[in-house]
Symmetry: C2
């Protein structure tokens, strides 16, 4: 491609409404433009990347044996009523009526449509397993779309749905999809991790998220340094301490802590480490027959964070997890937040393993302005109900039994999921089994956020000068930057020659042939746009038979013999 015939829409200034680096750089590099809140136009530069991601996803999905289909963006309400989601889904589901006043929605996902399609096409266990995918536009009416295409309203997903007559068959396809996703993200050139994920309210045996690792990621991921265990922190199990609880050494004391409510303040005041304290959170319990919700206390070590996903699965705790209103705590317990502790607390209490393992700890005294020190379970308060309710932290032993955990941040770009019969049961998607009996199909689903991958790749690969694309998804592999193309015939000729040769060798090459562009601006643009390989061609180099090469991550440029440059690049860029 010649820059003179391509819309290079780079911006010097960062648009003010962009919060994250990928959004800033996608705007600055001329990849996307906003059409309305959460709706983006893909400019030619951005679309080249998107299409490369799509191509890799499609090739690997085909290789896995999945069959590509295409389902409509607009979906009839009646299918969503069958599955029950027409009522369950909130305002993220954009609903509309057609000219005949029939209700439809824009599909945020296609479980209903595929289940409807397949229940009519697949009638026998002999046709199973079968896995269908599409790469299609989705719409989710986010309350606050942001971060560019990272959380837009309209986006492109690869979604796949598999159908089975046994859980073993589901597991097989699930494993194939796991391997396929690993191939996809490897081919995309991204550092990623498949991590165990929570299966949410749907249940099902397994769910894995695929995360692109990036410091700016929204999710914390726990890894073992001694195995390939990795889990979303929502899901990662905190093992109970392996040693017995130490014996009490101190007497229970009530100490005045005037105005000290936070763990931080109390620790500083009493000169103890947060690890030697516990904090008590009051949440709402499960709704009772009389429709009241009792209060429940959750007790954690002072330095630990509550894991809401774990907590809301506890017996007796309401899901979604809801902190008790301060007024109710005041009314029913006569206490204010920051003075609560487990000793003598007259409501059900669940204590995290780590908090339950402490001896001689500090906690609120259930009396405004006072804390207890030297507290010991069993001696000062009866042995509590213990559970895993905290987020793991770096240094925790890995739940796999090998090594300790590290925490990194990730951006979720894929999710594979054993759906079970949630949709097939509700929508009566059945086949005849070996004995001619009707059997409900078992389903899996497998998503990749195709547009999101583009943003995540940038979050992982950028520097102060702009994007740094992996070769596999770069809009152009190579930029040829001629110095004074309009004045030097030698430069013009060599640029054209290399452009032709490298294009013929199969590379996507951007020839910066705009006669009026300045060298500095061209170099800044190729850096900003993230083109991974750059050749500068000038008279001075050519006199010595050389061109100048710089990889986008290189600190130094190199002089390469012009006669050798194609070979040199072929050794660096795998197609």
């Amino acid at each position: 491609m010649r820059s003179s015939r391509f819309l290079i829409a780079t911006l010097k200034e960062t648009p003010s409404d962009a919060e994250v680096i990928s959004h800033k750089l996608m705007l600055r590099a001329g990849m996307i433009r906003k059409s309305a809140s959460g709706l983006y136009n893909w400019l030619p530069m951005g679309l080249r990347v998107l299409r490369k991601v799509e191509k890799i996803v499609r090739e690997e999905m085909n290789k896995s044996g999945a069959m590509e289909v295409l389902m409509p963006v607009v979906q009839p309400a009646e299918l969503w009523e069958e599955s029950g989601r027409w009522q369950q889904y909130g305002p993220e589901l954009l609903r509309m009526n057609d000219r005949h006043d029939r209700p439809f929605c824009l599909g945020p996902t296609h479980e209903e449509v595929i289940t409807d399609l397949i229940r009519n096409e697949i009638k026998s266990y002999k046709q199973l397993p079968a896995n269908f995918y599409q790469i299609q536009t989705k719409f989710r009416d986010e309350i606050r779309p942001r971060f560019g295409v990272m959380r837009s309203r309209e986006f492109i997903m690869k979604d796949a749905y598999s159908f089975h007559n046994s859980v073993e068959s589901l597991q097989e396809t699930y494993d194939v999809m796991h391997a396929t996703y690993c191939s996809i993200f490897t081919r995309l050139g991204l550092q990623f991790r498949p991590v165990l994920a929570d299966t949410g309210s749907i249940g099902g045996a397994f769910s894995h998220e695929f995360h692109v690792l990036a410091d700016s990621g929204e999710d914390d991921i726990a890894f073992s340094n001694g195995s390939d265990y990795a889990a979303n922190i929502e899901k990662a199990e905190a093992l109970p301490p392996a040693t017995p609880r130490p014996a009490p050494q101190h007497l229970l004391q009530e100490v005045a802590t005037p105005g000290k409510h936070s763990i931080e303040d109390v620790c500083a005041f009493l000169k103890v480490a947060p690890q030697q304290t516990v904090k008590t959170l009051i949440v709402l319990g499960e709704v009772r027959a009389d429709k009241t919700q009792p209060l429940v206390a959750l007790v954690l070590r002072g330095d630990h964070e509550l894991n809401e996903i774990k907590a809301e699965k506890l017996t007796g705790v309401a899901a979604p997890l809801t902190l008790a209103p301060e007024a109710r705590i005041k009314d029913e317990l006569g206490l204010s937040i920051g003075s609560i502790g487990p000793v003598g607390l007259q409501i059900p209490m669940i204590v995290d393993h780590a908090a339950a393992h402490l001896a001689d700890f500090v906690c609120g005294a259930n009396k405004e302005g006072f804390h207890l020190t030297g507290v010991n379970w069993e001696r000062d308060e009866k042995a509590p109900l213990v559970a895993d309710i905290r987020n793991v932290v770096a240094g925790d032993p890995s739940p796999c039994g090998k090594g300790t955990l590290e925490i990194k941040r990730g951006i979720e770009v894929g999710h594979i999921f054993q759906l079970g019969t949630k949709y097939s049961e509700a929508m009566k998607a059945r086949v005849l089994d070996e004995n001619g009996k009707e059997q409900t199909m078992i389903m899996g689903c497998y998503g990749i956020g195709v547009t999101r991958v583009v943003a995540a790749a940038i979050e992982q690969n950028f520097d102060d000068n702009g994007i740094i694309w992996p070769d596999a998804i770069a809009p152009f592999h190579i930029a040829i930057v001629p110095i004074n193309i309009s004045k030097s015939e030698a430069v013009a000729n060599k640029s054209e020659e290399l452009y032709a040769e490298l294009t013929k060798a199969g590379y996507d090459v951007l020839l910066m042939d705009d006669e009026k562009a300045r060298l500095g601006a061209m170099l800044a643009d190729t850096d900003l746009m993230g083109i991974p390989h750059r050749i500068v061609i000038g008279d001075r180099g050519l006199e010595a038979g050389n061109v100048e090469y710089k990889g986008r991550r290189d600190l130094e440029k190199q002089e390469i013999a012009a006669s050798d440059i194609v070979n040199f690049l072929q050794n660096r860029i795998a197609l």
Copy 2:
């Protein structure tokens, strides 16, 4: 692809709601399934064809220098308000409010979005011309979706929009697009014609439609047998007769024609040819200052059809063309339809060239139950205002001056259009010209109905057994049909060997490896699915070293040496 791993969803029966052959065959061949009225799922077999069409369109568009972009399906109302189309567009524009109650629509077309995008990106004449295209989902809420994907509500279009600073530049890009469309439809393997089309109310110098020729087409296209002139019948000019009008031979007579109103009845009764009669249609004229609409008479030869597009462009006639209500004709003229004629009619009258060329003709007597014979212009009624207001018919002289016209039927699959400044003016899409002065950009637009092409290809290529795909867009080039694959090792081996060889040679091959399928059913399926080349492999043939080949259009099958079949196919199928 192996049939055992592919969803072959052929149907023996034709679904009752399919009216046209392409819809029937797409359902029967397992290409599409209806999700809701006008919304279709593309099954794997259908999607393979759709993707091949897309690929050819994309490659040729890229070759033309157009840049691919991707604009959102969901569009903000404010852009449509800027162009004025939010008010103009009818219920085909599916409108909705998002969760914040802001109005949006599903894009039936993207002029507003691209004009908004480009007015912000292109600021100087130096960046022009530029042509942007996308292949994207559109939605048009048809009042009565039908004919499967031929007139569905959700469909895929390739739409392109070009921007210019002069009409000469627009004409250049328009010509490139014309040539590109010819390349696309040629590569698709379709018989097509670019035809001059009406530019509608937008004006503009030129518009061409691209029609796939098919007897079932909705449009009539007029061709010259002496040149490459072709035009939609809406647009094709009927030349005035080249000879002078014959002199009157008969006297004017009033004859009783009791109960005879139609041309057919009158001709039979009076024993004259329709060519010797005229018919008079009463339509509404342009709205006057006092908001009344006068009646206007349009006079045609009895055998000719009114061309509404031509008629509504006449001075003094209202657009869209509207027949006058019978009651008004009765009230104001005291006449009923079927008795009206030009002689003595007291309203403005416009007469088609052919009707104005008649001598001694028959027409209504403006008196219930009577007609006039031997009528002559100038002698019996003053010389009328004459214009071209009829559809051309086969045998008319071609307006290009060479040859006579033939009429064929076509399916419109593409349309190229010189838009001018309709959108750029309304939306203030301006650039700075050579003198630093603001100039409104001039636009062109260029569409191809990608999903429609698939249906049109079938309307042109089918027989009693099913679809007959052109090689270029066939879901599979070749079907390998083994006889008794589960019983004969020789058959199984040769089938696998050929499958591997032909796949390696670059062909898309369907190996019918389902062990339980019967030969007859497999042959019927490959015919129905339209696979253009078929190899049957059986023990008997193999004993003689042969396999059996049949092209989808061939009447006879042939025995080909197994050792030669790859070579044989390479000579028949160009990749």
